[in-house]
């Protein structure tokens, strides 16, 4: 039973990590850039969600505060994500030569990440802020046993969102444009796709998912703090690479795997070594499959 409980907890943790990992992977897909600022967009989402939920009545008004607070966090994070792209990445696009075309935006991304983190310390102070508890009680499920209501909710919500995302990517014009842009930017422009707009929408979508992940994470962990992006951001980034960066299903799989793995480790005597193990797994997978679990390094036919 302990094993099953750990599995459920792991899936919950993993689903949140996956929501954040999706932002890394989608932005990488369209820009071939690791958006290091993404972890800070996640953190900002947590704070915006916190203030919005408190402002809307917090635990006294859980449904409305929870839903509206999350939506506000999504909007806020999207605006931050779009601004970062606009101000820090877009001016660099198509500039520079050779290796610099890839390294310059990478350094900029790191810079923006540090900037946002410091900004958060200034605005919100470094202290841990308690998150209102919107869920109480425990569900008693057959087979699995006890599962807190908040975790059950997190798991279900994350899965619904991921299925929705998959439909969005497969079925809608935006999804097709994003996939086309990810494989060949010039060809996408030849189809009439306004690539700047698709890139901005990708940042908005990734940031919104990070905001949902942030609110769910805080509901689970009961607190928000300025460096929270580093912890979860790193795991999410590893998840994205593990699954195959640029691959949406890969990010989901990578997130879930990391979550489950982490909880399994906690059952052993080495519970402090979760992050170490995560990196070991990453290295082993990349040695065996350099493109990640679901990634393909496609060779184009000539």
């Amino acid at each position: 039973m302990k094993l099953l409980e750990a599995l459920m907890t792991g899936l919950t943790q993993g689903a949140m990590v996956a929501l954040v990992a999706l932002g890394y992977t989608m932005v990488y897909g369209v820009l071939k850039l690791i958006n290091f600022a993404h972890s800070e967009v996640f953190m900002m989402g947590a704070y915006i969600g916190l203030f919005a939920i408190l402002g809307l009545g917090g635990a006294g008004n859980p449904v409305i505060a929870g839903v509206a607070g999350t939506v506000i966090a999504m909007i806020g994070s999207s605006l931050i994500g779009i601004t970062v792209e606009r101000v820090a990445y877009r001016p660099l696009r198509g500039r520079g030569k050779g290796a610099l075309t890839r390294i310059t935006p990478l350094v900029t991304a790191l810079g923006v990440s540090v900037l946002l983190q410091n900004l958060a310390q200034l605005l919100f102070s470094a202290r841990f802020r308690p998150y209102p508890q919107l869920f109480t009680g425990t569900l008693h499920l057959p087979v699995v046993g006890g599962l807190s209501t908040s975790r059950a909710f997190i798991l279900v919500a994350s899965i619904v969102i991921m299925v929705g995302l998959e439909l969005l990517v497969q079925r809608t014009w935006f999804g097709k444009a994003m996939r086309a842009l990810s494989t060949n930017e010039e060809a996408a422009r030849l189809m009439g796709i306004r690539t700047s707009r698709v890139i901005a929408m990708t940042f908005a979508l990734g940031s919104s998912l990070a905001a949902i992940g942030a609110v769910l994470f805080c509901l689970d962990q009961s607190q928000a703090y300025p460096t929270m992006g580093v912890v979860i951001g790193t795991r999410a980034f590893v998840a994205a690479v593990l699954g195959g960066i640029g691959n949406i299903k890969g990010a989901m799989l990578g997130g879930l795997l990391i979550g489950v793995l982490g909880e399994m480790v906690k059952l052993t005597d080495y519970s402090g070594g979760v992050d170490v193990l995560v990196f070991v797994v990453l290295i082993v997978v990349l040695l065996l499959r350099p493109a990640g679990l679901l990634g393909t390094s496609r060779v184009e036919k000539v």
Binding site: W173, K176, A177, R179, A180, T183, N184, E186, A187, A188, R189, L190, M191, G192, I193, R194, T296, R298, E300, K301, V302
Partner: protein, 252 residues
């Protein structure tokens, strides 16, 4: 095949003015001049070929027309309007489509999705269905492989897909960059037959081809590009009889 665009007004081909014209267009990559002042025009209903050796600037010319490359000098006019300052999306919406060199299909999208993305600017479901019907009538092989990923097609089939995808935008002017490149002779025949049918349906064509013989057979007029400049131009029959062209490009 239906080529009328659902929203764009149909131009009459008899108005005498060129559909596309380039005037003294110059383009550089870094410091290196690839086009040194190219002037050419394409009239409605024509098939115009552009031939020239490797590196002459043929691809650069087409990409510049499509507004994928900035020009350092000169103007491009399409249907009487200056388009030099616009972006590729704007050119596509005005009726110009490019089938790029090396095809550039989307390998991880299915054949159907590749075609759908080609109709990105007019997402009307009925038009799209009809245009897909037309494209699969033109290339029955594509119709048999709609669910297959683009990357799994043979080279010749990928070229068919690239042309079909460009036709999905219902262009008025189709730019083709080396459609025969690296393709088995039998499929080249099929592809050129399709190009003829597209032209018969009223689409104006600017064709870049390494296979000079074929290019001069299918086109009305042609330009010879040499190191970024137009070296010769004239009717295709004239050029095919020209000794210089025969020596340099027809191997005899």
């Amino acid at each position: 095949m239906r080529t009328a665009h659902p929203t764009r007004p149909r131009r009459t081909s008899a108005d005498g003015k060129p559909l596309l014209s380039l005037e003294d267009v110059q383009v550089s990559y870094g410091g290196i001049k690839a086009l040194r002042g190219v002037s050419l025009e394409v009239r409605s209903g024509e098939i115009v070929a552009m031939i020239g050796a490797n590196g002459a600037g043929k691809t650069t010319t087409l990409k510049t027309v499509m507004r994928l490359l900035p020009l350092s000098h000169g103007t491009i006019t399409y249907a009487g309007e200056m388009v030099s300052g616009l972006g590729p999306e704007e050119l596509v919406s005005r009726g110009v489509s490019l089938v790029p060199e090396g095809r550039a299909i989307f390998p991880n999208l299915t054949v159907r999705e590749n075609l759908e993305v080609g109709a990105y600017l007019h997402k009307d479901a009925k038009t799209m269905r009809e245009t897909i019907e037309d494209v699969t009538a033109l290339f029955p092989r594509l119709g048999e492989r709609m669910k297959q990923e683009g990357g799994t097609l043979s080279g010749g089939e990928q070229q068919m897909l690239a042309i079909g995808r460009a036709m999905m935008a219902r262009p008025e002017l189709l730019l083709l960059d080396e459609p025969s490149l690296g393709i088995a002779p039998k499929l080249v025949q099929q592809i050129f037959a399709a190009i003829r049918r597209i032209a018969e349906a009223g689409v104006t064509i600017l064709l870049v081809e390494q296979n000079t013989r074929l290019a001069l057979q299918v086109s009305h007029r042609a330009y010879v590009l040499r190191t970024g400049e137009i070296a010769l131009s004239g009717s295709s029959a004239e050029l095919a009889a020209n000794q210089e062209v025969q020596a340099a490009y027809l191997g005899g």
